[in-house]
């Protein structure tokens, strides 16, 4: 059930209406029921995976508290959940590579990738590890736990939630509040604006430019990656707005997943602003355990002896960062291009960690005013360029295509394609340009205000009700007036 479909809106209307009409102590049961109905709408056959992840992590959580072999139980649950994800998502990729490497002929399998598996698997694993660490007590009620795993707004594309932050809200009793509904709808409307006016407007052009990369070069490659930059942010963050808005209507506040990522001044900061919950998950469950592990401590000692204290202390962090981003790359999908995408980010961050003292010396030597607007602007631009380079891997058909596109960006550099029929051929009309420009200006304005600490929604609710509802009306009117009218694709991250 796509978030932009009529079915979803009707489903949400019934879910919210019923939620506030039934006895409060049954509200969480209602949510559980609707979450499973939502998931079943995609097909009964994939329900098994959700149930598997739920039962394994629930069982592991309860058992960890009862047994002495806590670590073993935790590892078993993690392996089972990851194993399930690895099997459905990476089996054929592994087989293809083994066949190519060893010249053998293992058959691929016709495996269906269950919706949202990457998200709910990570969420479940996070829970089991937190129970093992004693962060909170395991949930004893299997149905309540099932709600945590399957809560429908977040099921398909996150954000990856934490049990201690979500549970209290999911199981709490909520009284109807008009303001809560208004704010939820407001957030959803904003998400639809970004999705329909920006992301879907650019989808066709991006697809044509990347899929037919051998036919294009020069500034068209720059256009491709810039358009993808906008499309991906609008699509993913727009999807998050819809998810968070829908959850808000039930009184559940989900974690934010985006914080104006293109304002980041370094790749490291970018990943604190982009897909935040994936980043924090990686940090809490891979980075810290890895960098604080005995093996890494030994390596640190060894490195300090070999390359000096300063570098030796940083190297484990660099390695941990590379590992995390390798995992991030793998998480995105079974393809070498995603691995390259992850490694690209990891290596840049690792290099930045290593070179930080050198940068600092350089900045001092050249008396660069690091708080000046122009220096911050330069950092943002530099980061934006690096992020866009990474998008070649993300959206390119494969690694070769990514490198080819990067290389041919510097060939046939000319403005001619923007003057002739090329724009028409790639599905980018004058109207598209102005609508996308308008959309970007609106989103940029809102982002700048938020970056300066202005709480937009609070500011809006303080406004005169007439102005507020006129704003809603205009935003709603923009969807059919300016939005893409071709078949609307699903949200990009729902494929993970």
């Amino acid at each position: 059930m796509s978030f932009v479909s009529t079915n979803f809106l009707v489903f949400l209307l019934i879910a919210v209406t019923g939620y506030y009409l039934i006895p409060k102590k049954c509200q969480w049961i209602w949510l559980l029921l609707f979450s499973y109905v939502f998931y079943l709408s995609a097909g009964v056959q994939i329900l098994g995976y959700l149930l598997f992840a739920t039962l394994v992590t629930y069982g592991a959580g309860v058992w960890i508290e009862k047994t002495d072999k806590k670590k073993l139980v935790m590892l078993a649950a993690v392996l089972l959940d990851f194993g399930m994800l690895a099997y459905v998502k990476y089996f054929n990729f592994a087989v293809d590579n083994l066949n190519a490497l060893l010249g053998i002929q293992i058959a691929e399998r016709n495996l269906l990738l269950p919706l949202g598996i990457s998200f709910y698997t990570f969420q479940s694993i996070g829970y089991v590890i937190d129970v093992y660490r004693g962060k909170f007590a395991a949930e004893k009620n299997p149905f309540r736990f099932a709600l945590f795993v399957s809560f429908f707004p977040q099921l398909l594309q996150g954000p990856i939630g934490r049990f201690d932050r979500l549970a209290g809200q999911l199981y709490a009793e909520h009284t109807f509040s008009f303001q809560r509904i208004e704010r939820g709808l407001q957030r959803m409307l904003w998400g639809f604006f970004k999705k329909m006016i920006l992301a879907d407007r650019l989808a066709v052009t991006v697809e044509i430019l990347f899929r037919n990369y051998t036919m294009f070069s020069g500034l068209l490659n720059v256009m491709a990656v810039l358009c993808y930059s906008i499309q991906l942010y609008a699509d993913f963050s727009g999807g998050m707005d819809v998810v968070i808005g829908a959850a808000e209507m039930f009184g559940v506040q989900m974690d934010e997943n985006f914080k104006r990522p293109y304002f980041a001044r370094s790749i490291s900061e970018f990943w604190h602003r982009w897909h935040i919950t994936l980043g924090t998950w990686m940090k809490d469950y891979i980075f810290y355990p890895l960098s604080l592990s005995r093996g890494m401590k030994k390596f640190e000692k060894f490195a300090k002896k070999k390359v000096g204290k300063k570098v030796g202390r940083i190297l484990p962090v660099c390695i941990a960062n590379i590992v995390i981003f390798l995992v991030v790359g793998i998480w995105h999908g079974p393809a070498w291009k995603y691995i390259c995408y992850g490694l690209f980010n990891g290596i840049i961050i690792a290099f930045s960690n290593l070179m930080a003292p050198v940068y600092k010396k350089g900045l001092n030597a050249f008396h660069i005013p690091v708080q000046s607007w122009w220096w911050k602007g330069f950092q943002m631009l530099r980061t934006f360029v690096l992020v866009n380079i990474s998008w070649f891997f993300d959206m390119g058909t494969d690694v070769k295509a990514a490198f080819t596109m990067m290389r041919t960006t510097f060939q046939n550099v000319s403005l001619q394609p923007f003057r002739d029929v090329t724009m028409q051929n790639i599905g980018f009309s004058g109207e598209d340009f102005f609508v996308v420009l308008f959309g970007c200006l609106v989103v940029l304005t809102v982002s700048i205000l938020q970056e300066r600490g202005v709480k937009i929604r609070e500011a809006l609710s303080e406004r005169n009700w007439f102005l507020r509802w006129v704003a809603y009306g205009l935003l709603l009117l923009a969807l059919p007036l300016l939005g893409e009218t071709g078949p609307i694709g699903g949200f990009i991250y729902a494929q993970f």
Binding site: S5, L9, F178, W469, P480
Partner: protein
């Protein structure tokens, strides 16, 4: 703000928005003949033969000519943008008002290789409200972008840049004849006949070029859609079987030039649907194999290279009427009308 005031604000907003939306629909959405079709279906007749299908049938089958041959009152419910799902719900709607003696389904394989666009939604929007319409609504619109439901004017919003067209739309829709769903509101006398909409013949040198969809090449990509089409076609057949109404599938002819230049593809399509009809236990006639001594299928007679019969419609309908008469009388012989395989490349 107090809750009662908030509720009033919300109601006010919804009312203003609905009014604005209504005006946008009035101005930007093209007037539709579907309302006329549904009214005729309900109030006129009784119809002995009902035809369902696509734009080829809509512009190619003249009920009056069929009636002259069969002696049976006929309604042509073939519509541009009518996919199998639409035909199914239209059939269910039709059976509430009519007790036909036969159903004929005009099949255009290109609908099996393409998905419906927004124009197809008109068939639902104009259908009078009933439980069938509600089911049709969720089945058709449920998975679509919610804007297609709430803002149908979105797809024709560019009309706003063409004031004469916009004014004409509004003018037509406020006419009494249009509100009463009379054919004269949209068509000159004789241009509409119980669902048939007359098209003209276009000289060959003025016809737009046409590349047929390739069945074998596109089948895999459209497998899910084809499966859905099959399931709704089956539902139609099962419904007719349940009501004891004979159901026949046929394919209207396309220009000979198109057929010959696309022979391999046409053969693949014919074999697929012949097999499908066999599985479903219904007769199937591919009228691209009509004997050329009975009718010329030269492109010069057609409206376009795709297969809209245009000026050929009356002659074709007369021939079709003869075939139907004989089929229903049990005196039909395929060789009297078809030379199957003769015109393959």
């Amino acid at each position: 703000m107090r809750n009662s005031k908030k509720a009033l604000v919300l109601i006010g907003f919804v009312l203003v928005f609905c009014l604005g939306n209504f005006l946008m629909n009035l101005a930007l959405v093209e007037p539709s003949y579907m309302g006329i079709n549904y009214r005729v279906l309900k109030e006129e007749g009784p119809f002995d033969i009902l035809l369902f299908g696509t734009s080829h049938g809509q512009s190619g089958i003249v009920p009056e000519k069929l009636e002259q041959e069969t002696g049976m009152k006929t309604m042509n419910l073939c519509v541009a943008g009518e996919y199998a799902k639409d035909s199914y719900y239209m059939l269910r709607h039709a059976l509430k008002y009519q007790k036909p003696k036969a159903i004929y389904y005009e099949l255009d394989f290109t609908y099996w290789l393409t998905k419906p666009n927004y124009q197809s939604n008109t068939l639902l929007r104009e259908m009078p409200w009933s439980w069938n319409t509600v089911q049709y609504f969720f089945d058709k619109m449920g998975d679509q972008d919610f804007r297609a439901v709430f803002f149908p004017w979105m797809y024709t919003r560019d009309v706003i840049k063409n004031m004469p067209v916009l004014k004409n739309y509004v003018y037509l829709k406020i006419q009494k004849a249009y509100r009463e769903k009379k054919p004269e509101s949209l068509y000159a006398k004789g241009a509409y006949d119980n669902g048939y909409i007359r098209g003209g013949t276009v000289p060959n040198d003025q016809k737009a070029s046409y590349s047929p969809h390739q069945w074998n090449a596109e089948y895999k990509k459209m497998e899910k859609h084809i499966k859905e089409m099959r399931s709704y076609l089956k539902k139609m057949i099962d419904l007719c079987r349940e009501k004891g109404i004979p159901f026949t599938i046929f394919v209207t002819p396309i220009p000979e030039e198109t057929f010959r230049s696309d022979a391999a593809n046409q053969k693949a399509v014919d074999e697929y649907f012949k097999k499908l009809a066999g599985e479903y236990g219904v007769p199937y006639y591919n009228l691209n194999y009509l004997r050329r001594d009975l009718i010329s299928l030269s492109g010069s007679e057609f409206q376009d290279w795709e297969g809209h019969l245009g000026g050929l419609a009356p002659k074709f309908s007369t021939l079709l009427g003869k075939m139907i008469r004989e089929q229903m009388a049990g005196t039909w012989r395929e060789s009297d009308y078809l030379d199957t395989g003769k015109y393959d490349a």
